[in-house]
Structure formats: C-alpha cells, structure tokens
Subunit: 378 residues, 2 copies
C-alpha cells in the first residue's frame, strides 16, 4: 500500500507512493476538498488540468444531499462524480460537531439534527462504515469525536475515550464487512486536543487497534498555530514510519511546507477555493487581495511564472474587475489558480525531498512567502 | 464586408460571411452576451471550446465599471479580455432606459443616474462613439431611444424621431473620427415599437442616413411574441439585401429559428447563461428544469447526442444534485451546455440554408422543440 522511497537527509520530510484501487498517489500530496461532490465553482476537468491526484469529499454532506440512495444508484461516488482517480471521504464526525444542531453523543453513536432542515439523524461507527462502503471511497475515516477549541481537559479526555471505543467498533465492523479483495484503506484518527498526555494516550490506543494509516484530527479548529505544530511534534514520533500520516484540515501553504518537514504525507483544506471565492490569490510571495483597487491597471498575471491556465491567459486587472463586481467567473478563475498553486507546491515539495534538499527548500519558501513560520521572522 | 453566399430557396434565410478586423464570421450567427466583459460563470476558453465566433458586450456596464480609463490602458476591450475574435458592443441606450435611474432625455443626449451608486452621467451620441472607439469593438451601435412596452404612439413617435436625429449625429461624428483603415462597422437601429407606420418611418430615415448594417431595436421588451414577429415582417422587406440584419435581444431557440427564416443574420441574448443559472437546460426537445427532483437518478446527459464537454462527462443526476443545492459549478455546467446548444443550433441553421433545406429544418426543429411557433401548434 505505502512504498516509502526516502526520507530527507536533514528533515523528517518523506517521499512515498501510496497505491489505491484507483491508481497510485505520490506523497506528500494535497487533497482538494469537494464537500458536496464538487469543488466549489470548479469541475473535474479543472482538477485534471491541475493534475490533482485525489479528491476529498464529505460523508455528512453527501449523506444529507443527494442521499445514499442516489449515490448507490450510480454505483458509488466515483460513478456519481464520474471521477476515476482516488477519493478520500471523511466520517462526518467533524461536521456533526461543527455544523449540525442539537447533537447528542451517546455510547452507541451521535444523534444530530441536519443544519439544513433540522431533520434528525443518528450516526454510529457502523453506520458511517456502511455509508463509506456505499460511497466506495479509496480511503475512509472512522467516526470520531472532535473536541472544540478551547475545551476543558475533561471534555478532551472524554473525546479521546469515545474516539477509541468507536475506532475499535469501526475496525471490527470493517473487518467483518470488507470484501476479499480489499479496496478501501481505513484510517485511525488521533484526538486529544492540545493536551500532550491525551494526544499520547490517543495515539497509543489507536495504534494498538491498528489501521492502514493514521490521521491527526482535532487540529486547525481555532487553536494557535504554535499549538497546532506542538501537537504534531508530540504525535509524529509515535507514528509508524511505514504508514501514511494525514494532518487533517491543514492548511495554509506555509503550514503545509512546515508540516511536511515534520513528517506529514497528506493534507486537505478548502482554503484554495474558499479564499478564491473571497478574491484572495496565493503566490510564492504570499497571498494578496486581488479585489483591491491597486490591481486595476495591472496587466501581469496573478503570479509571474505560474503555468496555470488562468495566469497564461488573464491579467490581474481583468480578474480584479470581475472580482470587484462579484462576477462568478472571477471566483472560478481565482479558485482555479489557487488550486493549481497548492498542487504545484506539492510537486515542488516532492522534488525537494527527492533531491535531499528539503531544509533549504523550506527555508527559502517560508522566507519568500513572508511566513510567520520563517526562521527570519522569529 | 458582407459577402452573401446564398438565400434559401423556400424561405428568406440567408448565408453570408461577415468580415471584421478580427476575422470572418459565418452568418446567421449568435452572439454570447458578456455584459461586464465576461459571460456569467464562463471563460473565454469555454467560448472557444463552444466555437463562439464573436462576443457581445455592453457599453453602459463597461463605462461604469471598470471605467474607460482601465480599458483604454489595456488597449481596448480585446486586450482587456484577451479575446482576439470579433466583438460587438451595444450603445448603452437600452441599459440607460431599462436599468438607470432618473433618466432625462434631452435633445443633446440622455442624462441618467447609475443603477449602482446613483452617480450622474450624460451620454450623447458623440460620447457613445468615443466610448465605443476606445473599446475598439468590431461592430458598434449608436445611441438610440428605445420605447417601452406598452407605450402610447406619441411616445413611440418621439423615440423614432430622437433616434433618427441621434443616428445622423452619430454618423457625422463617426465619419469625422474614424481612422483611414476603417476597422469598426457602424450599425443603424430601427425603432418604432409595435406601430407599423412608425417602424416604416424609422426604417426609411435610418436607411437614408446609411449604415454598414441594420438592427431592429425595441423588440423583446415585453411585447407579445406575435407582435415581435409582425414587427420583423414589416421591417425586413425594407432592409437592403446586401447588408447584415440584426434582431436585437432575440431570443429563445425557436424564435431564432423562425427569425432566420424571415431573413435575419444576427442574434444576441443572455438566455443561455441566465436560464443556466436558474437550472434550466435547453435541448432540441425543448427546455426543462434540471433542478427538479425527477432527474435525481438520471444517469444520462442533459441531451443525448450533444457533443459538449458537459454532456460528454456529467449526468443529469449529478448536475441536478449540484443545482438543487445551489453549487456554483452547476450554474457553470448548465450555462456551458446552453451556450453550446445555441452555437450548435446556429451551425445546424447554416447547414440547412447551405442545403436549401431551411423550410424543412425549421418545421422539424419547431415540431421537435414543441414550439408555440410550430405550424403543428396553430
């Protein structure tokens, strides 16, 4: 499943190939977020143009709309989206805790009301497995409990314990239900908020159960960036070297660059499209608000040297005009560039690891980007 | 400028090539409407994919935003949009009368307040020519006065007279200002609401002044479809055979098919993208509301046999899901199909005229489409 090619000489950055039922993925990689079975304003042609290796989608959203009956009739999510590359689906756990109304955690599972229409639903670890098996995603996440930020240690501890119980049930059910030619990889999720001993407890318990890959969850939920990386520094040494590691919901470009250097293989965030829809574009020199009037007369591309279709074709001045009057096309153009930027960044990251040059790459990237994570800014 | 290849044996449908500074256009043709220098939710790559021959844009909107200073700095509208095929711009007259606030028509021109911020502006025939020369469009429209529907004959008569006065000033100014290697074609616009004698008067006066091409304006402003075609039937015989004829703002697919049979060469409407954004798709079997729940499980394309990228790749069920939850991607996919449908329809129209088969084509199209214009429905 996971062929580790090399680890960078001076950092913990790794290069590997992850094999899935829908083809191999080169790590480290970024997963564009298609919450509702699409990236906002983009198409799968766009994802292919940008050379996306995989797409991530959301169990919670798909379960509510269009509903499993529809997706099942299309033979699963690949068929529904007509996308033949890998898919990862989350468990819906995070959305139940961040979006849904009146959620009630019980031992059996979590009861919640849809954020859309208030309808009542009940997710158990087993039900989530059923859903994700119907979706047919290549990588699936178990139902977990994500503690909010900030939270009391007691609440964080309960979330760790419930996550472990549910992880055990998930694994049992998955083993019973999976078909012989195993096609789906099941992840374990490590919780514990920003408490070192809880993170260690969660890692120990989840590793004990044993999964195909491991994710650090409950990060990027509002905690300071410093705490986020501290959490990563606690957990990473406990993770097996020969399995994929996923830092859930991370992050901004400089955060990804730093996390790769700390040994992470997998990332996802809706930032490229979300920021794109708000008129913010990413470049190697940092991000900027393209909507601003200062770009009115700018005939240059969003980023000089960028090979994306948008930068090859459209000027900042033109896109700024469209963004400033809220034209849908502007959201699309900026989202496209941002997505291309993220995927291109992962290529640069992989190339740097291949060349045992990650420390230099990271230093240079963070400096050019003007990152708060840069040594120069410390 | 206008090379008439043939007229259909049994109808008034015509085939010609219209030469412009940005390349030839095969007639009859459809002009996708890029009001604000973009088609809503689409890009110029999409227009090229669909083999659009030309794009139409709006003087009124571009004058207000981004403003002429910006477009001039890009060397005109072609440079601003980075589109090297032909462009037609309207005069802003229609928008002043339909969008702007507190408009006041004077002999000199029309004073109006921006619908965006209430700022005051004054358009004269000469100023509109200056704007359109700065835009650098291949075909330009003069400032005219469009009577509303319904309106008293007195008001319609005044609009005809003012339109003629302004047309004369436009022509004079254009002749004085145009450079030696004439690059822009100036249209005359015929007004007169739904009054036969006024339409005839307007046609006579505008033809007397003499323009490169002629447009029938003040149609599709709310009048019954019957009146719209009656107006066309009055005016068309008065138009010179060897110049292009433009039926402004028309229309639905069956209306275009009928108008071609009555001798029209040029069309524009924002219907493909506007309907697309509202979840309605066009096919040869008529239009349908793709948002509707009945399409939930439909694995077929929007239109069987359609060669557009959307129909090649996405199912009704998938697009219906996206449309029903208001995903931006759905608006884009349906708009794209609709635009492709319109452009493909024009190809079929041209082919039918080439084969002296327009009467049959029209009959069959209107019947398949379930058109109220079909003989079968009369």
């Amino acid at each position: 499943m996971f062929e580790l090619h090399k680890t960078d000489k001076n950092t913990k950055a790794r290069r590997a190939t992850l094999s899935t039922a829908h083809g191999p993925i080169q790590t480290p990689f970024f997963m564009p977020v298609g919450t509702t079975a699409t990236l906002k304003s983009l198409t799968f042609e766009d994802l292919n143009d940008c050379q996306a290796q995989i797409v991530l989608s959301n169990t919670y959203h798909l379960y509510l709309r269009p509903g499993m009956e529809v997706i099942e009739s299309f033979g699963g999510l690949h068929g529904f989206m007509n996308w033949d590359k890998p898919i990862l689906t989350d468990s819906g756990g995070y959305q139940v805790f961040s979006l849904a109304k009146l959620r009630k955690i019980k031992e059996e599972g979590v009861e919640f009301q849809s954020h859309l229409d208030g309808s009542r639903h009940f997710f158990t670890p087993e039900k989530v497995m059923d859903i994700e098996m119907t979706l047919g995603s290549d990588m699936i996440m178990p139902l977990d409990v994500c503690a909010p930020y900030p939270c009391e240690k007691k609440e964080a501890k309960e979330s760790v314990e419930r996550t472990t119980q549910w992880a055990r049930r998930t694994k049992d059910y998955f083993l019973k239900k999976q078909t012989e030619d195993k096609k789906q990889y099941l992840f374990g999720i490590i919780q514990g908020a920003i408490f070192k001993d809880l993170r260690e407890q969660s890692a120990r318990e989840i590793l004990d159960i044993g999964f195909d890959a491991y994710a650090i969850g409950g990060v990027s939920v509002g905690e300071p960036v410093k705490d986020m990386f501290e959490t990563l520094a606690w957990v990473e040494p406990l993770l097996p070297v020969k399995q994929p590691r996923y830092f859930m919901g991370i992050g901004l470009p400089d955060q990804i660059v730093k996390a790769v250097g700390m040994g992470i293989d997998m990332f996802d965030t809706c930032i490229p499209t979300r920021y794109g829809r708000h008129g913010t574009a990413f470049t190697h020199q940092g991000r900027f608000i393209l909507r601003n009037a200062e770009h009115r007369f700018d005939q240059g591309p969003i980023e000089k040297g960028c090979e994306c279709l948008v930068c090859q074709r459209y000027s900042r001045g033109y896109i700024r005009h469209l963004a400033s009057i809220n034209e849908l096309t502007a959201l699309r153009l900026i989202s496209y560039h941002n997505l291309h930027f993220y995927i291109q960044l992962m290529k640069e990251i992989r190339s740097a690891v291949d060349n045992d040059n990650y420390a230099n790459f990271q230093k240079e990237f963070l400096s050019n980007y003007g990152s708060e994570l840069s040594e120069n800014n410390k």
